[in-house]
């Protein structure tokens, strides 16, 4: 058996910590009393509300839309009434406009059923459904999916990649989705292939998920048809394997140029859970109103993989998961390598939330930083071949304007550099500061 596919340069091996939740089947979280729908969940222009206070709404109704600019509509995840149009806490923006819905516990949840055969519809019509369902990259990027499915004419696409790597420690949401919804993912892949007008799809899965690999292989085999060429590729376990550029290089060998998009090398990448959402939107008419997230870490009493309504507050999830343990030290939305630490539980899940981690003191590293000792380990770890140590030292010396030469604009903040730094320097933070001031060369 030949070695698994991987990217050759850089990368680190943080402890996987998936044992807490990888064997837990997805649980449906009971409907909370309130949902807070952030209006700016996707990359692009934020939604403006299309409902008013006290308005009664049904499950799946449009409550926000983007009139001008890049974006997708926002839907009510449950029936109820609009309690407020105000703002919610946000890990990056501190506070962000949102719609609060008071849910109706009496309302019967809708069952979304197949309405016609998507194969009879045109690529354009399918694309419209993807947009209308409010689908964005729910792996974490939040880019409107319908835009990714229409690459510019001068950069034709020949390969679709599905990202099942889930390389961040702790997170097992995509893993469970592949185990439990494999057929939906494969069908979603075919829909994406039809929209793109191509036939080749590769699904990349890290080798630490052997059950998902065999389940997806079986689903692909059971659904073979001559129009589509879908295969599963096993990837070496290495962070950041799930990063778009690294995934593309590992599976196809192509390198996306600096500051360019994957379409520049003829590839489009979609997360497996986004693909499942596309299937549900097109085949079942279901908008993006709920998603699977992982709740993990030793700081929560009952770790789980939960199917939650978008807009569910972290405080409600904490209560459902048995509360926090006394040695909780940090709460992270996302993975431990790139996720955002939050200071309040009063924060709602968005379409791009992949996990909520409750980490104890011995799961995190709070050691103080010291001077750069020029060991060069960050140069080895950086998957993009940049120079984090130089950027850090320049920022400390108030010369952030001159850091473009070290590749600061190619950095996607994966955290590999800071992970290996023996001097515990907050390199990602220093790089973010550099990006604010660096002059483009």
């Amino acid at each position: 058996m030949s070695a698994n596919l991987t990217f050759p340069k850089g990368g680190v091996h943080p402890p996987e910590a998936k044992g807490l939740t990888e064997k837990l089947a997805v649980e449906v979280m009971p409907l909370p009393d309130e949902l807070e729908l952030v209006l700016g969940m996707h990359i692009g222009a934020p939604c403006t509300p299309t409902v008013k206070r006290r308005e009664e709404i049904t499950e799946g109704a449009v409550i926000g839309d983007v009139k001008k600019g890049l974006g997708v509509p926002l839907h009510a995840p449950a029936a109820g009434s609009v309690k407020a149009i105000a703002s919610s806490a946000h890990p990056m923006r501190v506070s962000t406009p949102s719609i609060t819905i008071k849910t109706d516990p009496e309302a019967a949840p809708l069952t979304w059923e197949a309405n016609g055969d998507w194969r009879n519809e045109s690529a354009e019509a399918l694309l419209g459904k993807v947009h209308d369902a409010g689908i964005i990259g729910i792996g974490g990027a939040g880019f409107p999916t319908h835009v990714k499915l229409k690459p510019p004419a001068d950069n034709p696409v020949d390969t679709l990649l599905l990202n099942g790597a889930e390389c961040e420690p702790y997170i097992t949401a995509d893993h469970r989705t592949m185990l439990e919804q494999a057929e939906a993912i494969v069908e979603g892949a075919k829909i994406l292939l039809k929209i793109l007008g191509i036939k080749t799809c590769a699904i990349g899965i890290e080798s630490n998920k052997p059950d998902a690999i065999s389940t997806m292989n079986a689903a692909v085999a059971a659904a073979t048809e001559p129009a589509y060429d879908i295969r599963v590729e096993t990837l070496e376990v290495k962070y950041p394997q799930g990063s778009e550029k690294q995934l593309i290089q590992a599976i196809t060998g192509r390198k996306v140029p600096s500051l360019a998009l994957p379409s520049a090398v003829g590839v489009v990448v979609h997360n497996v859970s986004t693909t499942k959402a596309v299937y549900e939107a097109v085949a079942l008419g279901k908008p993006l109103i709920e998603k699977v997230i992982t709740v993990s870490g030793r700081g929560i009493n009952k770790p789980a993989n939960l199917l939650v309504k978008i807009g569910t507050k972290v405080s409600d999830i904490v209560e459902y998961c048995g509360g926090c343990t006394p040695d909780l030290a940090r709460i992270v939305l996302g993975g431990p390598m790139m996720g955002f630490a939050v200071s309040t539980l009063d924060i709602p899940v968005t379409k791009t939330t992949s996990s909520i981690l409750f980490l104890t003191e011995d799961e995190i590293d709070t050691r103080e930083m010291s001077n750069c000792i020029r060991c060069g380990w960050c140069l080895e770890a950086c998957p993009m071949g940049l120079e984090p140590k130089e950027i850090g030292v320049y920022v400390e010396a108030n010369r952030a304007e001159d850091t473009a030469q070290f590749g600061v604009f190619d950095c996607f903040e994966c955290g590999s550099c800071a992970y290996v730094c023996p001097a515990k320097r907050p390199l990602v933070q220093l790089i973010r500061l550099a990006k604010m001031k660096a002059k483009r060369s």
Binding site: P15, K255, S258, V332, M337, L359, R367, C375, G376, Y419
Partner: protein, 335 residues
Amino acid sequence: MWNVSVSPHVRSNESVDKIMWTVVACLVPPLVLSIFVFGIQVLFITAASVLSCMAVEAISQKLLGKPITVRDGSAALTGMLLAFVVPPGVGYMTPVLGAVMAIYIGKHLMGGIGYNIFNPALLGRAFLLATFPVAMTSAWLPPMTDGALFTYMTGAVDAISTATPLAVIKEQGMVGFRDTYGSGMEVYASFFLGWKPGCIGETSGLLLVLGGLFLMYKRYITWHIPVSMLATMAVLAWLFGGETLFTGDPILHLVTGGALLGAIYMATDYVTSPSTKSAQLVYGAGIGALTMLIRLKGGYPEGVCYAILLMNPLSTVLDSWFKPKRFAGPAGGDK
């Protein structure tokens, strides 16, 4: 109550402390052998060096208003290395003064750890060589084979003039060397195992190499600098070290003097050496070449100390010439 910080929230177990103290630990076996070969005063010289380096660091940082970081082990390591490059017969004040130069001037006045241009231990040694030229070039002691630890402590430690192998080569040529030591594998073996006059840390090549292999296993150092330095030395020794071309003795030059100590522990110092592998190969080769130049053609019998100090300032330049390879260039360029 929980806390917040910027990602990543998990980090590797390695730390500066762990690295420094591990290297210190790797130097303990050669130190122990040196005590058996040259006597117990080696322990006191080393202790004086380590403690004064740590004390000078604490005092320097206090005077400069900076947080005191002695616990990270870097000053202790400098102390060990400084002791390792002085002859075993020097007085106890010698390493103390060397510590002031190495730590206060060579490290903290330059900006503290990470900012020093020159290897602090070697800067200390160069200072001592200039300040105490007689002691630093003649306080050699013949190795004891009976392990009588207190031999050299009785009475004043007079400079028993025993020349080091490199001094014999410099003054009497290879002919004189063979007269004094003989030739063949036994000579190499006894030098490699530690039975020769020299500085405290130059004794056992074997123990130094074992320590180096352990550090490579831990990924604290890589082979690039030691191998490029020693290979360059070997080639140049073979080319130019004999009476005629191609008649030199490469092995002899690797097992004598500070070659192994310098290659494994001094030249590989993170702060003063380049960070990329290609730059490191050039750096190591440069040190090897300068060492042989000084050994064969210069006035001193040993060249490792100055060779490293001369290459130290070039580390930044070499790093800028050999940058890491980017994942991909901009669109339209190379694909």
